[in-house]
């Protein structure tokens, strides 16, 4: 789950990471004069808001109110701006970069720091980025000298030590996949302040963080329903609606469809469910998306084939499914599944290649 900037900054404050003075408004009439020289920042979960005009500057309350009104009417990459953060404008001496993420290869958290802040970090040269692996439960005192010197912040070393320790504590205690400050501003008074804040919390750990805000991500009604029901939902631009189990199998279904000129449309991943109701829910979502063809591709393991078959039969009885359906079912309890389907006159294929070819032909004919 991504946090909005102001949500991340609330947590920064709690952890003693300095942030600019500021407040959130959802209505331009709530802009007051507690901050004079200010920055108005669109609160959206997508990058590139600066380039899109989602960051404005104002000298006084009047212009701040006007700019806040403008930004609150914007859509950035399709996302409606619902709130703006109004902050004091910082006097910037230098902009740097610091983050903690997870290094998959080493299986450890990795702190990244660079003197080149404010840019997209992908565009920064490799040798200008310092890397320090962090070990769960371990202190970070031993790397502070290295970080301070890499960032040319020897004089501000005490601030660096406090910042890194807080960032690490925040990262670990809040189950983060990413905490990123870009830019981290060194003011002309020598004070270090987090000008921006990005945080991604590990979805699988949200159950132990009731204190965190609920995600504000913009979702289509269908996406929202899918999420509420624990079904992975991806909207692509083709006509074949795919219901499959597992990300790898789903991607290979798309790859195989493309071999026959077929294109995936809505794609639903049942994941590791073994619940008839969940299968019916997937069909309910699929019917709402009204694809030209429905392709069911199941290779049962945790998800047993007979469970899926019962779900298909129930969905056929409960829902008006107008699209033609191609079902391919293999794996645990496949014989039982075939029997259940055949009793209802549904014939399931066993071969993925054949199923993809048939679905592609049906798509082309409609």
């Amino acid at each position: 789950m991504k946090l909005l900037e102001y949500q991340a900054k609330e947590l920064f404050k709690e952890y003693g990471i300095p942030v600019p003075r500021g407040y959130l408004v959802v209505d331009p009439n709530d802009v007051d004069d507690r901050i004079g020289d200010s920055v108005i920042k669109a609160q959206v979960l997508i990058g590139g808001r600066g380039k899109a005009g989602g960051i404005r500057f104002a000298k006084d309350r009047e212009s701040a109110r006007e700019e806040a009104g403008n930004v609150l009417e914007m859509y950035i990459s399709g996302f409606k701006v619902r709130s703006v953060l109004i902050e004091e404008r910082l006097r910037i001496a230098r902009e740097i970069y610091i983050s903690i993420a997870i290094d998959r290869s080493k299986g450890l958290p990795l702190l990244l720091a660079s003197r080149e802040g404010g840019l997209e970090i992908e565009s920064v040269r490799d040798d200008l980025i310092g890397r320090w692996h962090l070990t769960p439960g371990a202190e970070v005192n031993n790397i502070i000298d290295g970080i301070a010197s890499f960032l040319a912040l020897e004089e501000e070393k005490e601030q660096v030590a406090k910042l890194v320790a807080s960032l690490w504590r925040l990262f670990w205690e809040k189950d983060c996949e990413l905490v990123e400050i870009n830019p981290l501003v060194v003011g002309d008074d020598g004070d270090i302040v987090a000008s921006d804040a990005k945080m991604i919390i590990n979805d699988d750990a949200l159950f132990r963080h009731p204190e965190l805000p609920v995600e504000e991500e913009d979702l289509t009604p269908l996406e929202r329903k899918a999420r509420e029901r624990g079904i992975a939902f991806v909207q692509l631009d083709g006509g074949i609606g795919v219901i499959a189990n597992g990300a790898g199998l789903t991607m290979s279904t798309l790859d195989t469809l493309s071999l026959y000129g077929g294109k995936g449309g809505v794609f639903l991943d049942l994941g590791g469910t073994d619940d008839v109701g969940q299968v019916v829910e997937a069909f309910r979502l699929m019917v709402e998306a009204s694809p030209k063809v429905i392709l069911v591709n199941i290779f049962g393991g945790i998800t047993k084939c007979d469970t899926v078959a019962k779900g298909i039969v129930q969905a056929k009885e409960e829902l008006r499914i107008e699209s033609p359906m191609v079902a391919r079912i293999k794996g645990v309890n496949e014989a039982e599944a075939r029997k259940i389907l055949e009793e209802k006159g549904i014939f399931a294929l066993q071969d993925l290649d054949k199923a993809c070819r048939k679905a592609s032909e049906l798509e082309a004919s409609r």
Binding site: G107, D175, L259, K330, L352
Partner: protein
């Protein structure tokens, strides 16, 4: 010979009384796995498919001499259950559970490394050594004994490819599903190394998918260390670019991680690349006939 697992492993099923634990204990026993115990706190004294249920891993290990465990416990209990398995002297721990918090995975994998213990998973389909034993949730009937080693990052796609190999008459030495989470206990490289040193594995199939850099790292390793023929399929060639790539995540991979980059790296390492899963058996027949 097989890698990681054979009929001698004495297996404890953690979470044996749950729906999945019960079902897959039955399937593993049918496959020939030496399941010696189960553990579910509060359910000691029960039996599941004739297997005795113990209160704790300590009790199970002491009474049965178990050395291997497989976890079917809910994600939030995986950390404590794995710690218990490590403390009870298990040498191989397979974690089937999905949705394990990534920080928990980091902690338990570090802990296992410090003790020299192998973890496979989390969020994986497990290990199958046809004719010997299975530790996982893969369907029993898709396997066939033979000489091809298979390693995969995916779950159901593993079944797809194992099934396709078997249907075309190609048997397997061992099939390992390492799991699709960003952090897993056993990597492609670990398994490639084991297959390279296994005298009864003559060719290797590697199944990858987009995201991360595990396939590129595997390609580097193959280039330097693997002399056996390798065939691969990377899922997601036609998938649109994902949204989940964070900035700092992208920096770790430095532009690596797309299907194109993976396929390129693997081809450069001399690996045969299939465009769809069903091309794999033909590629394997080619390399077996060339050998």
């Amino acid at each position: 010979m097989t890698i990681l697992l054979d009929e001698r492993n004495k297996v404890v099923v953690q979470g044996i009384t749950g729906h999945q634990g019960q079902f897959h204990t039955g399937a593993m026993l049918e496959f020939g796995t030496n399941v010696v115990a189960g553990v579910t706190p509060g359910k000691a004294g029960q039996t599941v498919h004739g297997v005795e249920v113990f209160e704790s891993m300590k009790d199970a290990a002491r009474d049965t001499g178990a050395d291997t465990s497989i976890l079917f416990v809910p994600a939030r209990f995986v950390k404590s259950a794995t710690r218990e398995a490590i403390d009870s002297g298990m040498q191989l721990i397979v974690i089937i559970s999905e949705h394990v918090p990534v920080h928990d995975s980091i902690e338990i994998i570090q802990m296992a490394k410090a003790h020299g213990i192998r973890i496979v998973g989390p969020n994986c389909p497990g290990i199958g050594s046809p004719g010997k034993a299975k530790l996982g949730i893969m369907p029993n009937h898709i396997f066939k004994e033979g000489k091809v080693g298979l390693v995969s990052r995916s779950g159901t796609l593993t079944y797809e490819v194992v099934n396709a190999l078997t249907e075309s008459g190609i048997g397997q030495s061992t099939c390992v599903g390492i799991g699709g989470d960003p952090i897993v206990g056993t990597s492609f490289i670990d398994v490639l190394d084991l297959f390279q040193n296994d005298p009864d594995t003559s060719a290797i199939v590697l199944i990858g998918e987009i995201g991360g850099t595990a396939e590129e790292e595997a390609a580097d390793f193959i280039m330097e260390n693997v002399t056996k023929p390798v065939c691969t399929y990377v899922a997601g060639l036609t998938a649109p670019p994902g949204k989940r790539m964070g900035h700092a995540g992208a920096i770790i991979s430095r532009g690596r991680g797309t299907a194109e980059s993976k396929v390129r790296a693997l081809k450069e390492a001399g690996v045969k690349v299939a465009a769809v899963p069903h091309e794999i058996p033909n590629l394997v027949w080619e390399v077996l006939n060339d050998a």
